[in-house]
Symmetry: C2
Subunit: 338 residues, 2 copies
């Protein structure tokens, strides 16, 4: 991030016609946007695109969710038809939706509305073998990075992450445990809504995966391959690509948080471009955000995924930029100071 | 609120293509919007207008703020020129800004961009006498109600409250103490940023005002007249007018919270149309929201006023309505259920 632009943004915030500090979290966010852009004021972060990375999970066979696996593909079809919540929220905030098949188990109909980037048809069952090979993890990382780069080339100036993948909170919990050192129980949650018995089983599945593979933050790609999902790999790459293009990215919930831990382990400076859109109801998300040093903008007990929590935060990010761009200073407006 | 529309909205939320409950607070918000509109799905709550009620406070003479009183009029001029934060945020969310002189101490230049509704040029010093007469409080209430009704007639389908008035957090604290029974110290905060000594003095001023006037929730207009501000009266009336027109209103921070307590004491059903936009950093705001039974949508340490916190919540309110209007059901989209 550009320290001079950030210092200029801090100084400008203190000259705007409002009590210093009275915009709370949005003031520091505006400073970060200036830092990413290398300019004060920063450009308005628009247009916006959300990339929804869809994939399936071999661990589904372990009974960690009440939803059938085919829902992943069905929801991708729903998104392509414009009927999912992510589509409604994207219309609200004026964002484009790009759906990415990074590893759905079934064949999806091709079309200009789908980015075909399938690395493999779902991961393997991480309780029995690595979820994917190191090479597959690398291919998914590169695919995600390429998508971010392409969106930046197309002129998008704010990106958001989305995900779709039945059972992906299980892989997220394993990744978060690996990268934060937290216990499986502390970071495994109810996902889309499992009961007490299934939650206990899910914790056990995560614990067994960690015991089998011993994933370590010191080997981020190895950990990702062992216990992650293809959408985690795609999103982690997407964050790297966005950082390379100096485009800020709004993270969605726990899947994005897990992917961000991978990306930050690979390249710590990626954190400069990350904005936490919301705090998920999923307990592992808090652990991930703490480690990333990010404070979420929205906190409304959402646990849907798809990019919904990221999109809701988009107007807040744009409003933060607008303060530096549009608000008069005390001198400009002839307003008295204390 | 229309119970049948609310029941239909709850049932529809459970049929949308997402795990039941996964949109957290936004699901119940969508149900409330259906209840206010008397229809499921409710109409999209747009266009939006924010009314900024500006007034001065006689208690300014007691040294409860570091800002000179003339800043109220200067900031009204800044808003009319489009240079305040409320203007920038209104542009972000597509809201119209209406500035209302309900009681600024000085004469303001007339113009089509100002609603001239001055009841008196600032309140009296509430440590020495009632802030205003009962008749003045009633006139300000009616002026506010009339403005809400006019905006509804003009076609606005979502309203937001704003305020501008140097020293108005002192009157807010006195009102909140009167209507919640809380101690002065628990509900008096730093406002736009007072130091420890001035805060202690401010608490003492609030305590003396309460001791002198003994305002009681059982006499809302009397309490408002004794320790309130003209913007509190205007906003309380605005809420009543919005409820009468069945238009939902997003509340800004602590000033709106204090005014909402007055309005709810006058007409409990007004609560049906109220949406808490954000949680202010001011401690009295929490006490007000608790009593009103409202959970704020945004919580970012804002303490600016003007309507800024209300406007930031507008896209969230609209997104909640969109879920019921635009998201496919499991049947529509042929998505499997658990």
């Amino acid at each position: 991030a550009d320290e001079a632009a950030m210092a200029a943004a801090r100084a400008r915030q203190d000259r705007l016609t409002k009590p210093p500090g009275s915009l709370g979290v949005l003031e520091e966010l505006s400073v970060r946007l200036a830092g990413v852009a290398g300019a004060c004021p920063p450009p308005l972060p628009e247009p916006v695109a959300v990339a929804v990375f869809a994939a399936d999970h071999g661990v589904h066979a372990q009974g960690v969710t009440a939803w059938p696996q085919e829902v992943t593909a069905q929801m991708v079809a729903n998104m392509r038809a414009g009927g999912a919540v992510v589509n409604a929220f994207a219309r609200q905030v004026g964002a484009a939706v790009r759906t990415v098949d990074i590893g759905v188990a079934s064949e999806l109909p091709a079309g200009p509305d789908l980015i075909a980037a399938k690395v493999r048809p779902g991961t393997a069952d991480l309780t029995r073998e690595p979820a994917m090979s190191r090479g597959e993890a690398e291919r998914a990382l590169l695919a995600g990075a390429e998508i971010a780069g392409r969106l930046a080339d197309e002129g998008y100036r704010l990106l958001a992450t989305g995900d779709m993948g039945i059972a992906n909170t299980t892989a997220s919990a394993a990744l978060i445990a690996a990268f934060t050192g937290a216990d499986a129980e502390a970071v495994t949650g109810r996902g889309t809504g499992v009961d007490d018995a299934m939650l206990a089983h899910k914790v056990d599945v995560v614990r067994r995966a960690l015991a089998r593979h011993r994933p370590e933050a010191a080997d981020p790609v190895g950990a990702l391959a062992a216990v992650g999902g293809l959408e985690h790999a795609g999103i982690a790459g997407f964050l790297l690509g966005a950082a390379a293009a100096r485009v800020p990215v709004v993270l969605d919930g726990v899947i994005a948080g897990a992917a961000a831990l991978v990306a930050a382990a690979l390249a710590p400076r990626v954190a400069d471009v990350l904005i936490a859109g919301h705090r998920s109801a999923e307990p592992g998300h808090d652990a991930a955000l703490r480690q990333l040093g990010l404070r979420p903008l929205i906190d409304l007990d959402l646990r849907l995924g798809e990019g919904t929590g990221a999109l809701l935060a988009v107007p807040l990010v744009q409003a933060a930029a607008r303060t530096l761009r549009e608000v008069a200073t005390f001198d400009d407006a002839a307003v008295s100071e204390r």
